[in-house]
């Protein structure tokens, strides 16, 4: 953290404390965020000790809390993988929210047309539809970035807002279920939803997500394409010099990232939601960035980090009743977490400074 204060140059050898090691960064970030939250609670006249105790008792220590944490970690795991894959290619996929929405809508429509088939066929069909929809939706910002060098951060955010309006119009009109008043797609019957594991609320989406994390790790570290993708992210100029098709990898990474993000939407529709409801927007996108950086940008780190944010998401539902703390409180926690991570990430790394506009790569 203190690298830029000149410790490295003194030659005295820095005292190597465990507390200042890289692996402690996520813990410090979480503590910082919780402290910010406590300050906010005090300022607004709540009792932070009481609120945090209620949080631990109701959302963490009870079996239902642990189950819900896992359930909510599943879509976050998909979005975290999406962010990480793009980041390894040196690009920022901030279009996650939009890709989740189009993925969820595609999955909901496909699933409701496949209700007469077996459950497995329906799940597979919905997943394929979501993958295609997410990839298609991500391909426009991806092509603009790869071919024309137009910043993917801005187009990604624009496509989020376009997706929100578009999906909400589609479920109100052409894709909605005419049998119900509410704007939503046909409800998937409960017995056709993703099977749960051993009497808990946790469903098989978790197994798929964890398997996909394994695949991602294998792809990035054990395949030629994964290596070339990482080379593109580490140094586009060097990669181009090594005959690696840089623009191709950037486009492919963004498209694949969009497809994976869309699986989060399909997961929600097939498990907890059962349909795509108009104006639904889980806003996983920014959280996914906090998640990836909390996990130290490592593939393995995604899993514990997803559990942390799954817990935050569940706490946001429990706390209004438990301690009269509005769900938006957890937005503040997540924001503070991102700010803290922004500092630690930069201090630890010499290459993240490239995140501006000035890193344009032309093929």
């Amino acid at each position: 953290m203190t690298a830029h204060l000149g410790f490295k140059e003194t030659g005295w050898g820095r005292p190597r404390l465990i507390l200042t090691s890289k692996w402690m960064d996520p813990l410090w970030a979480v503590l910082f965020a919780l402290t910010c939250g406590a300050v906010l609670l005090i300022v607004t006249g709540h009792d932070p000790v009481l609120a945090y105790r209620e949080w631990v008792e109701r959302a963490i220590l009870r079996p239902s809390g642990i189950q819900e944490t896992f359930v909510r970690a599943i879509p976050l795991l998909f979005t975290g993988m999406a962010v990480l894959l793009a980041l390894r290619a040196g690009v920022w996929n901030i279009g996650i929210d939009g890709q989740v929405l189009v993925g969820a809508l595609a999955a909901a429509v496909t699933a409701s047309s496949l209700v007469d088939m077996s459950a497995v066929v329906m799940w597979a069909g919905a997943a394929v539809a979501a993958l295609l929809a997410g990839a298609t939706w991500a391909s426009i910002p991806a092509l603009l970035r790869g071919r024309l060098g137009i910043n993917e951060i801005i187009t990604g955010i624009m496509f989020n807002y376009i997706a929100m309006s578009m999906t909400s119009w589609l479920v109100k009109g052409p894709l909605g279920d005419p049998a119900v008043v509410l704007p939503q797609t046909k409800l998937i019957p409960v017995e056709m939803r993703l099977s749960t594991l051993g009497g808990t609320r946790v469903h098989i989406g978790l197994l798929l997500a964890v398997a996909l994390v394994g695949c991602l790790g294998w792809f990035l570290t054990r395949t030629v394409a994964g290596y070339e993708l990482r080379a593109t992210g580490a140094s586009p100029a060097a990669a181009a010099h090594g005959q690696i098709p840089v623009a191709g990898y950037i486009i492919a990474a963004l498209v694949a990232s969009g497809a994976i993000a869309a699986l989060a939407g399909a997961n929600d529709v097939l498990s907890t939601k059962g349909a795509f409801q108009g104006e639904w927007n889980p806003a996983y996108g920014f959280v996914a960035f906090a998640l990836v950086f909390l996990g130290q940008r490592s593939v393995v780190g995604l899993v514990p980090a997803a559990l942390v944010f799954g817990q935050l998401s569940y706490a946001a539902d429990v706390m209004p009743r438990a301690a009269d703390v509005a769900p938006a409180f957890f937005g503040v926690i997540e924001g503070a977490l991102l700010v803290a991570l922004a500092v630690t990430v930069w201090a630890r790394s010499t290459s993240v400074g490239r995140s501006g506009f000035g890193r344009g790569v032309k093929a």
Partner: protein, 314 residues
Amino acid sequence: MNIEAVITVLLSVALLSAVPLALASVGEAVGERAGLLNLGTEGIMLLGAFTGFWVSLESRSLALGLLAGALTGVVSGLLFGVIAVVVGADQVLLGLGITLGGSGLTSFLFRETFGASQPLLPGSMARPPGDLADALPIVGPALLGQPWFFYLAWVIVAGAELMLRGTTLGLRIRAVGESPIAVDTVGISVVSTRMFAAIIAGALSGLAGASLSIVELGFFQPNVTLGTGFIAIALAMLGRWSPWRIAAMAIVFGSLRGLGSGLQLIDVSVQSEFTRMLPYVGVVAALLLSGRGMRAPSALGQTWVRRRGAVRVR
């Protein structure tokens, strides 16, 4: 309704909804000229919109509300500056954090302050005398019949243009965004120049938020900005970081933003989803048309670090 009245209404709405965009975007451009990419604009706008609305509801004063919004922006800009420039941080992540935190904080405080109620500011708090506006047909109300802040906003935009272009400070800001090392070498402090730019950018974003909630809408609700801050970031780029070009772009995108409410005022029913989508589609289209070959400030998004005896950028 006759055609002249329709044009009048649409034009008034378009010009008024250009104001928050122009202010936020010019603020972002000042920051980016100094090498600071602040994706927290959306969050800072929300903070300014909330405090501005709250203060102006309590004090019944438009001016105090706007001032409060701008001051909130100064504090947020200071925060961004201290973390990004003095401490050192990844600017993209920091900006996302400020947007997420600002959105959460304002939603939380709004519920704490107002509960489930949805208070409205008394309308027409600052309308100028009508006879002035009636002097010109059609365009009169749009150009002369706006709240006083409307005119102040364009003066601020012009001031930013003059500052960037014609003052030593402006030159320093532009230089520090191109080559911090060169600036440091001639003995000008990179840190204080960037801090100044960050504060100006924050103040303008906060003011933009306050103008949105107070002048344009007259109410606040969670996430009321609906991505205006992100459109502002895109406009800074589309306007090639120059305030007067940004002002022109802001009028174009302001009319896209205001089209929905404008059409509502003249009783034309269009699916609200389509009018809401327009500015975002417009940004993508404009980037597609002009995004190629755009040269951003060279040190944009880079944190500058000075080490003892050596200067390096990373």
